[in-house]
């Protein structure tokens, strides 16, 4: 059996054995991929997986309607696996809630993929550490961050002003992100109103910054937010900037450790403070 056939067979078996009430995976929708929720073993044949599957399905685990269907088996690429480990570390899901149908690249840049099997969260964390410990952001992103960091602060302000000006505040970025699971988002709290909800420059600036900040040490690099943004705002530049800082300054990479302490919310006596006088 090839990878896809094994994946489908596992999905059918989990549903048949009652180990999962729903399989959340990808199906074909024209030239695109869409999520599919399979509750009947006979439906497992509709599962597909390839590089076009950019949505992070772990985002569904916060949805009340989906939570009634737990335990769920979830098709997960390495960044999605990291999201699942992060959600477990943050007590959003339990070991018994999820079976991970782990998929990953067969080899560097080949476009081919392989199936690692149906894993528990603990096995997923182990797989991540063994096989995907060196997951790095796309080099283009790092290049872009570097070149933006090299220009004047006014030029950066102008770049982001233009980028954020397109934001309509549809919150697709938030919806697509598994780490954004607050039932009431900060931007929806209006007594007092901290962040303007109007699609105007100051509110857009505050929203996009705070969204990235709240994902600090939690973003797993899946790029679902950027893929979700209808306006093409380069959100990953912010996410990667923060993730790199989290890794370099505090040694924290999100979603590898089921017992990880959160970056914001924990501290060390010898954290960097050369910027403090």
């Amino acid at each position: 059996m090839n990878a896809l056939e094994t994946l489908r067979a596992d999905a059918a078996r989990l549903l048949g054995e009652g180990r999962a009430k729903v399989v959340i995976g990808y199906r074909t929708r024209g030239k695109k991929r869409a999520p599919v929720f399979i509750t009947d073993a006979a439906g497992a044949g509709s599962l597909v997986y390839d590089a076009a599957c950019r949505q992070n399905l772990a985002a569904y685990l916060r949805k009340p309607e989906v939570r009634t269907l737990l335990p769920a088996a979830l098709v997960a690429s390495p960044p999605v696996m990291r999201s699942l480990v992060l959600l477990a570390a943050e007590s959003q899901i339990g070991e018994e809630d999820v079976v991970v149908l782990a998929v990953g690249p067969a080899s560097e840049g080949s476009g081919e993929w392989r199936y690692h099997g149906a894993l528990t969260l603990a096995e997923t964390a182990r797989l991540l550490k063994e096989k995907y410990a060196l997951l790095a952001p796309r080099p283009e992103l790092l290049d872009q961050i570097q070149s933006l960091a090299a220009v004047s602060v006014e030029e950066r302000a102008a770049f982001w002003h233009e980028a954020f000006a397109q934001c309509t505040r549809c919150y697709a970025c938030r919806a697509a992100c598994p780490a954004c699971y607050c039932t009431v988002c900060l931007v929806e709290k209006n007594v007092p109103q901290w962040i303007s909800t109007a699609a105007r420059p100051h509110g857009n600036y505050a929203w996009n910054l705070i969204r990235a900040f709240h994902a600090a040490g939690r973003c797993t690099g899946c790029e679902a937010c950027e893929a979700a943004c209808p306006q093409g705002i380069p959100l990953m530049l912010l996410n990667v900037l923060v993730a790199e800082e989290a890794a370099e300054a505090f040694g924290i990479k999100a979603g590898y450790d089921l017992d990880a302490e959160p970056l914001i919310g924990s501290w060390s006596a010898d954290d960097e403070e050369d910027f403090i006088r």
Binding site: N190, V191, P192, Q193
Partner: protein
């Protein structure tokens, strides 16, 4: 029609009354006589207004004063969110804004010659207060008038002065009730949920009209009681209090099925209510 429909009238707060620990009534007077006259011409009992505090926003509230007393407008609100908190922080002689009146009305002209039962729970007394005053100001035109009104506790009853005044008049029968546990040592009213008290105190074979306002749960339980008492579905009225922003049928959030509460309501009959999708209420 021309002009910015979001331009509101400036209102002076003539008086502030504490109704309950978290509920207040503001008596508002128009800063502009032409605006007052226009409001008075349009206002029928049951319509609502959008009360605004610049800097905080606007919120939709019923108009708690009747059209028969058109020198002022009263609104009663509980401090709940951003706008009601700002309204609650305003004091007498300060100013707020008002848009409206919007929506439909209780067809009280059609009620002439008939008995009227008003059933209110909690904040639901606010819209029925304007109905009651309107009926009382035109007392001779209507049959027997009965008010059954309840609150969670004795302290939560609105319009204590009004209740006392109505009880004294003799031309309206007033029954008050509090939820079990909400009574005090001095409480002389009933103890029990409003629908049960209605069933207990209102005689059967009713031929008149009834208006019910209060929390959705109370309305749902009161409706079958009223039907059992003989009220026809077309004679039972209620008001729906959906979230609103524009008040004029454009912002799209007050829909229940195809009904726009701001425009087709807020007053509906039980007959209309039955046609609405229950899952959207």
């Amino acid at each position: 029609m021309s002009g910015n429909l979001y331009e509101a009238s400036v209102m002076r707060i003539a008086a502030v009354r504490e109704e309950t620990p978290d509920t207040r009534t503001l008596r508002l007077e128009f800063a502009d006589e032409a605006a007052r006259a226009a409001f008075s011409r349009a206002y029928r009992v049951g319509m609502f207004g959008l009360y605004g505090v610049p800097g905080a926003g606007e919120c939709a509230l019923c108009i708690a004063s009747p059209p028969t007393r058109d020198r002022y407008v009263e609104c009663t609100f509980r401090r709940t969110g951003r706008v009601t908190a700002a309204l609650a922080d305003r004091e007498a002689e300060q100013r707020i804004t008002l848009r409206g009146p919007y929506g439909n009305a209780f067809p009280i002209d059609d009620w002439r010659g008939r008995d009227v039962l008003l059933v209110a729970g909690g904040m639901g007394l606010a819209p029925l207060r304007s109905v009651l005053w309107n009926l009382l100001d035109r007392r001779a035109e209507f049959g027997a008038i009965t008010l059954v009104c309840g609150a969670r506790t004795a302290a939560d009853l609105l319009y204590k002065d009004g209740l006392a005044e109505w009880a004294k008049r003799g031309d309206v029968k007033v029954t008050t009730t509090v939820d079990p546990g909400g009574e005090t040592a001095a409480w002389r009213g009933k103890v029990g949920l409003v629908p049960a008290v209605v069933e207990e105190t209102v005689p059967p074979n009713q031929k008149g009209v009834a208006a019910v306002c209060g929390p959705l749960g109370m309305i749902k339980f009161a409706m079958p009681v009223l039907v059992r008492l003989g009220f026809a579905a077309r004679d039972v009225y209620t008001t729906l209090e959906n979230r609103m922003k524009c008040g004029v049928g454009q912002c799209g959030r007050c829909n229940i099925g195809g009904v726009y509460v701001c425009r087709d309501g807020p007053v509906f009959t039980l007959e209309q209510l039955r046609k609405m999708p229950a899952g959207d209420l």
